[in-house]
């Protein structure tokens, strides 16, 4: 079947099998930041935004996403770079495999806090929002420090 999907503001038209998963569609079109880390929809590595909402691309039919706008990490280079430097400063990355999905979730979380007027989120609120992103290497402590500093940066949450 034919689908028209906008990825990072670029239109893509393709003829796909009905059961093609969005993750495989995105990788087929070169968005390699989107990765698969599990087969139970548990790890969060494959997180992308559909109409600004974070979802697991490993559990979305490309057919259902027809007509929508998808954002992957490739489309958020600037924002990712800013957060990435906070991660680097805290030594938060080990192998880095979990980072693309994790960064997508952090950026989505920041937007949601802003929308809800949460200017000073607690660690508990952050942990709850990010519980769907697993990391095999770290103990999350460095991640948490990086997020706290990132959200409190000049020009951060208001």
């Amino acid at each position: 079947m034919e689908v028209k999907i906008k990825v990072n503001h670029k239109n893509i038209t393709d003829n796909i099998p009905a059961d093609l998963l969005l993750i495989d569609f995105l990788r087929k079109h070169g968005f390699y930041s989107v990765k698969r880390g599990c087969d139970t929809a548990n790890c969060g590595l494959c997180t992308v935004l559909i109409a600004d909402e974070p979802v697991l691309s490993c559990a979305v039919l490309t057919a259902r996403a027809n007509g929508s706008h998808i954002t992957t990490l490739e489309g958020m280079q600037k924002e990712a770079e800013v957060f990435g430097s906070f991660m680097a400063d805290e030594g938060a990355e080990q192998c880095g495999f979990c980072s693309p999905g994790f960064i997508m979730s952090v950026l989505a979380m920041e937007k949601e806090f802003e929308k809800k007027g949460i200017t000073n989120p607690s660690e508990d609120q952050i942990n709850k929002y990010l519980s769907g992103n697993l990391c095999r290497c770290t103990g999350y402590m460095s991640h948490t420090r990086a997020i706290m500093k990132y959200l409190k940066r000049a020009g951060g949450l208001k």
């Binding site: 998963l21 929809a41 697991l56 490993c58 559990a59 979730s105 979380m109 992103n133």
Partner: protein, 263 residues
């Protein structure tokens, strides 16, 4: 992952229902559970175009469309107020935000999983399901019905004010519950106590608690719970362990609920 040959988005419920009568076809909700299986599906039926994606609220009830996501349910301010955060508490431990942005109310309730937090919390409220052919029936009745090929259109929760709490024990924060307990008390003082993940399906425990239970009433209810033969063992815990947890959760839940009704 399953295989699916065709994908259709019916524009009427009748069309969707007709497609669903063929056992080789399947309704696709959030697909999170389906995706873990290996079925060969002929036509994947997407209910997205049938107006089942909204939560409507009127004087009488909340009407939750089958295609609403768990995240929408969790974030709904009307239900948050009316049911004192019980619904949010039951949902916020399910995997993660990106998962709950996909998982649907319809897929969750249709599945009637033993471990279901959602079935457990809905059963502690005044809930009904609306089926396309089967009409509106109480959720407790639906919980016991065999899986059939009707379409679950929505879950309806009556606006009868209930104070209550949702408690669960999990081995890790976002794992399936080892035991879940939803307790609520309506304005007339009647209690509903539901245990889920027993590990069997959510079930009501008839406690006999009076409107304002004293210590001896609570002890009597605990006595009844001890001989309630509906806990069993599985890899997450033995029947004895669940019984001990059930007692602790019930004591806590009664106390929290009474604190709320007093407030």
């Amino acid at each position: 992952m399953f295989n699916g040959k065709n994908y259709l988005r019916p524009s009427t419920l009748e069309e969707a229902w007709t497609l669903n009568q063929n056992k080789n076809n399947k309704i696709i909700g959030g697909m999170l559970w389906l995706k873990m299986g290996h079925k060969n599906i002929s036509t994947m039926i997407d209910l997205s175009d049938l107006g089942l994606s909204t939560i409507e609220e009127n004087d009488q009830e909340f009407r939750i469309g089958a295609m609403c996501t768990l995240r929408e349910l969790e974030e709904h301010s009307g239900m948050e107020q009316f049911f004192s955060g019980m619904i949010r508490n039951s949902i916020e431990s399910i995997v993660g935000v990106q998962f709950r942005n996909l998982a649907t109310v319809g897929g969750s309730v249709y599945s009637r999983f033993g471990f279901s937090d959602i079935l457990t919390v809905f059963m502690a409220l005044d809930s009904y399901v609306e089926l396309y052919k089967g009409g509106i029936i109480p959720l407790e009745k639906y919980a016991d019905m065999p899986y059939d090929q009707d379409i679950l259109m929505r879950v309806i929760i009556k606006k009868r004010t209930r104070k209550g709490v949702y408690l669960s024990i999990r081995q890790t924060a976002t794992d399936f519950p080892v035991l879940a307990c939803a307790v609520s008390q309506n304005q007339e003082g009647a209690w509903k106590i539901i245990y889920g993940a027993r590990p069997g399906k959510a079930l009501a425990f008839e406690s006999g608690l009076p409107e304002k239970p004293g210590l001896s009433d609570i002890e009597e209810a605990i006595g009844k719970l001890k001989s309630w033969g509906h806990f069993a063992g599985n890899m997450r815990g033995s029947a004895e362990y669940r019984k001990a947890l059930a007692e602790a959760l019930l004591r806590k839940a009664i106390r929290y609920t009474m604190d709320m009704t007093r407030a």
